[in-house]
Symmetry: C2
Subunit: 206 residues, 2 copies
DNA sequence: ATAATAAGCAAGTGCTCACTAGCTTATTGA
DNA sequence: TCAATAAGCTAGTGAGCACTTGCTTATTAT
């Protein structure tokens, strides 16, 4: 018999529990009973706070979106040239995922999922948001002469984003068997070096 | 009442039906009833051919593995320098996925899935196999002077594989809204050009 | 031709799922 | 202090799940 909490606190608890559980259970196999057990509340009590499971998914995705916005904003505050800010944005994204491993599970949950209509649009919005930030930084970096002139900003972003996504996929499949940020920094710096203008210039990646 | 078939043919039908269905239903939500309906056979009849659903997953993964080996082998027969063979391997992988869109769903199915123990090891083996082929080609390309000398073969492969995986993820999320091979070829060629030795040399990507 | 076998069917079994109904009890504001 | 309200509980409901049972019928080998 847990201590009673206000509905707001309980809702936050539930969202937190879902994010925790998604580190080890796939979204499609995460049942409301397991969520209730994790929160420490009866199964029925869950539905006093969220009318349907879909509403839980919606709140979870809102929380994920907030965390992402926070991580990206923090990375952009660090300052430095656009090239460094691009690197920091990549690292911020990997750091976010390392701290919230539910994210890849939510993003990759494929096909027609019950919650598909709640989760998918926010996933797309998130990815588009990250892409936009990367394209903007790529454009600035190119203008500043930090990146080769023959590269389109969206291609720069597509290559970097792909490298991040591929790395996260391998990290998830490997059971998170390596340090995501460390390995990511290595690859991102390598890629930024490849995209540097042809006259070799020092790279601040170490 | 479908015409009777031999067990071997029926098993092949079932595997085929699963691959078809996985283009639109996630692996965790694909029920044996839906498979039976797609095959055109009663639900119970399925279990005459496969003792458990896990056995279906195993056969499906074997089929996927055969298709991948075939696609990769075919790409390596084309010939050309190691650099071109690396490009062709990437395109073969994308072509395979375009023809069998079940593959990303199977690879990305996260977390503890019922069939996890049947599917996961083969997914890992497949990815490791592709990685090995890419690393070997990268090593050859580097030795032939087609790629920068300061790049490690595994890093070359990791970058390229990441670009492929990121692209496939975006393709899946977008509802397969663009041509995977066309866009992939563009990005792969771009990346190969970035990894070319510093003295600019012609690239056979068009 | 016919017995043996192989492929199929309808109708279940017990389980888990998301969600509900109806009651109980802790907190709170007048 | 004590009703009103908000948060909780137990015990369901029907639907869908993987899988089984017992019977039927098509194919095939003698």
């Amino acid at each position: 018999m847990t201590a009673r909490k206000s509905a707001d606190l309980r809702r936050a608890d539930i969202v937190e529990a879902v994010l925790d559980l998604l580190a080890s259970v796939s979204p499609e196999r995460l049942s409301t009973s397991r969520i209730a057990a994790k929160v420490g509340v009866s199964h029925g009590a869950l539905f006093r706070h969220f009318p349907t499971k879909d509403d839980i998914w919606r709140s979870v995705m809102e929380e994920v979106e907030h965390r992402a916005q926070r991580a990206w904003a923090k990375a952009s505050e660090i300052g430095g040239g656009p090239r460094d800010r691009l690197r920091m944005l990549c690292l911020a994204q990997l750091g976010l995922i390392e701290q919230t491993p539910a994210i890849p599970a939510l993003v990759m949950a494929p096909g027609r999922h019950v919650a598909e209509d709640s989760v998918r649009p926010i996933v797309l919005r998130l990815m588009a948001g990250l892409m936009d930030r990367m394209v903007a930084l790529a454009r600035q970096a190119k203008a500043a002469g930090n990146l080769r002139g023959d590269l389109q900003p969206d291609d720069i972003a597509a290559l970097l984003l792909g490298i991040l996504q591929g790395l996260v996929l391998r990290w998830s499949l490997s059971g998170r068997g390596f340090d995501l940020v460390t390995e990511g920094d290595r690859l991102v710096c390598l890629q930024l070096r490849l995209m540097a203008p042809s006259q070799p210039q020092e790279v601040s990646c170490d």
